[in-house]
């Protein structure tokens, strides 16, 4: 991928667990640790949605987490992107018939990038972030 001016700024990522099984959480943490090391490109996990450019949402959005997801989403500054990590956030996945779901994620908040897999591999998550970066460039009108 060609490096362009969007790389002048670091992409900060916030992670939101909306009732996931922990599998995607582990793969997200595995992604930020040395083997994959996306911090080389300025991609890092931050503790507050107010600092974030991208939100990673895992899990199928259980009933209790819906309002929180909306609140956290509204706390992020614009331009913002949402990445949906894992099959259950995309379609409900293995939990499709549960009575306690308000999801999938894109019925609650707008989603820009979908990363399928149960859970997706770290490589897939990195690829998803790169896709998100390309979209962010488009939103910001950055010329390649």
């Amino acid at each position: 991928m060609k490096l362009n001016s969007a790389f002048n700024r670091s992409l900060w990522v916030y992670h939101f667990n909306s009732g996931s099984c922990n599998g995607c959480e582990i793969e997200i943490v595995a992604t930020i640790t040395p083997r994959y090391d996306p911090e080389r490109f300025g991609i890092k996990l931050v503790g507050s949605p107010r600092h974030a450019d991208v939100m990673l949402v895992t899990g199928p959005v259980v009933h209790k987490m819906k309002d929180r997801l909306l609140r956290v989403y509204s706390q992020m500054p614009d331009p913002k992107l949402v990445m949906c990590i894992g099959a259950c956030g995309i379609s409900g996945g293995v939990f499709y018939d549960s009575y306690n779901l308000d999801g999938p994620v894109d019925e609650v908040i707008p989603v820009d990038v979908y990363v399928p897999g149960c859970p997706p591999r770290p490589e897939a998550i990195v690829h998803g972030v790169v896709t998100a970066l390309a979209k962010l460039e488009r939103l910001q009108g950055v010329k390649a």
Binding site: N22, G23, C24, T33, V72, G93, S98
Partner: protein, 409 residues
């Protein structure tokens, strides 16, 4: 509440969304200055109704659903459920399958304990150690991927056996991984246990006495760190553990004394990594030949399960402690009853004595020290003020609305 004008004690709320918590749980602390006076916590934020879904699916499908109870304990839940169903349907699991199950079970323990050690280092503010442990953990993940086909949510255990054999070419990969870890363990022990900062932060922090550990029914490393000699693999062997030499890892033989603090929990988990390596070695050398499943065709397993009636309990020693699945089948396609009691369910209550009179800054490491897994725990039954109650969807909705209002106030 803090709003009544008094200065102390004041209420501090942490969660359900908080960067140091990987999973949603809500804590309410009564604080006096920096000191925690009392603790209350509200799990159940990730309740997905898995048991309810399970009652509408057949055992072969449920095995894959149990995989998704918790992303870390994939083998544990699938194995506990399969053990229960195999007892009901009287399916004889081949010996080789038992050994393969044990090998994967122990690899899971290695990766889970290394994962935990990294998280613990992170909670102490020791991020370089987090990155070191997670880097070495990747080798276990590679082996797991090689053996099962997936890094997380393996889908390898099935009722009647396992879905894949371990072929001789894979022995070498396993051996390589084990020798790496046996070499690394001394380094890890040195980094974690001889470090002054870690000792200062963890010694006599979050103490759980032996008496409290027994009274609160804690399980796994949390109870063993308090000196309770309890390990399902030693006390009630399942799968191939009967043939293997497993002794509960206690802090006393290694450190000379038992404090029951966060430090002892690090000791127990790190030495268990070494123990798991030995168990896998033993499994490889004694691995019997033969089939790896009692029945390869899922349709035939289903036919056997459909006729089965009875109830059984599958118990497994998860990386976090005992995990229990109760299953009842009445000759129908799906089970009549299915109850999951994950290990963290027993351990969560130990937070209350551990956190009492500790400082705010110690909350993250103490909370992490029991290795909580809330996605495992969030079933429908909740215990509040000693009463047990089952929440219906309407109750959950009401509670959720109340909570939202409370949060907005």
């Amino acid at each position: 509440m803090a709003s009544d004008g008094k200065k102390a004690p004041y209420t501090l709320q942490i969660g359900p969304i908080h960067p140091s918590l990987k999973e949603p749980v809500m804590f309410t602390f009564e604080m006096d200055g920096e000191q925690v006076r009392s603790v209350d916590f509200a799990p159940g934020q990730t309740h997905r109704g898995i048991e309810w879904m399970g009652m509408r699916r057949n055992p072969v499908q449920i095995v894959h659903l149990t995989d998704r109870i918790c992303g870390i304990c994939g083998i544990v839940h699938t194995l506990a459920f399969s053990l229960a169903v195999e007892q009901i349907a009287e399916i004889q699991v081949p010996e080789r399958a038992d050994y393969i199950r044990v090998i994967l079970h122990e690899f899971e323990r290695i990766q889970s304990h290394l994962l935990w050690a990294g998280v613990a280092a992170h909670e102490l503010g020791f991020d370089s150690l987090l990155h070191l442990t997670w880097r070495v953990r990747e080798q276990a993940m590679d082996v797991i991927e090689n053996l099962t086909g997936n890094r997380v949510n393996y889908g390898i255990v099935q009722v009647g056996g396992v879905r894949r054999d371990i072929v001789p070419e894979q022995y070498k990969i396993i051996e390589d991984c084990l020798s790496t870890y046996e070499g690394l363990l001394t380094k890890l022990l040195n980094l974690f246990l001889d470090d002054t900062t870690i000792a200062m932060r963890c010694r006599d922090t979050g103490v759980l006495t032996r008496k409290e550990a027994i009274e609160l029914c804690t399980v796994g490393p949390t109870s063993r760190a308090s000196g309770v000699n309890m390990d399902l693999r030693q006390d009630y062997p399942y799968a191939a553990y009967g043939d293997l030499d497993v002794r509960a890892v206690l802090p006393e033989p290694h450190m000379g004394e038992t404090h029951g603090d966060v430090y002892d929990r690090i000791v127990v988990r790190l030495f268990e990594v070494g123990q798991s390596c030995q168990i896998i070695r033993q499994c490889l050398s004694e691995m019997p030949s033969g089939p790896y499943t009692a029945e390869e065709k899922p349709a035939k397993i289903l036919a056997i399960c459909k006729k089965a009636t009875g109830e059984a309990i599958g118990r497994v020693e998860a990386p976090r402690g005992e995990c229990l699945h109760y299953v009842r089948m009445d000759g129908k396609e799906s089970p009549t009853s299915w109850k999951v009691k994950a290990s963290s369910y027993s351990n969560l209550m130990s937070w209350i004595p551990m956190l009492k009179d500790e400082q705010i800054a110690d909350i993250p490491i103490i909370v992490a020290s029991i290795d909580p897994c809330l996605s495992c725990t969030d079933r429908v039954a909740i215990v509040r003020n000693g009463e047990k109650s089952i929440l219906t969807k309407e109750d959950l909705t009401r509670l959720s609305v109340e909570k939202t209002r409370r949060l907005q106030r």
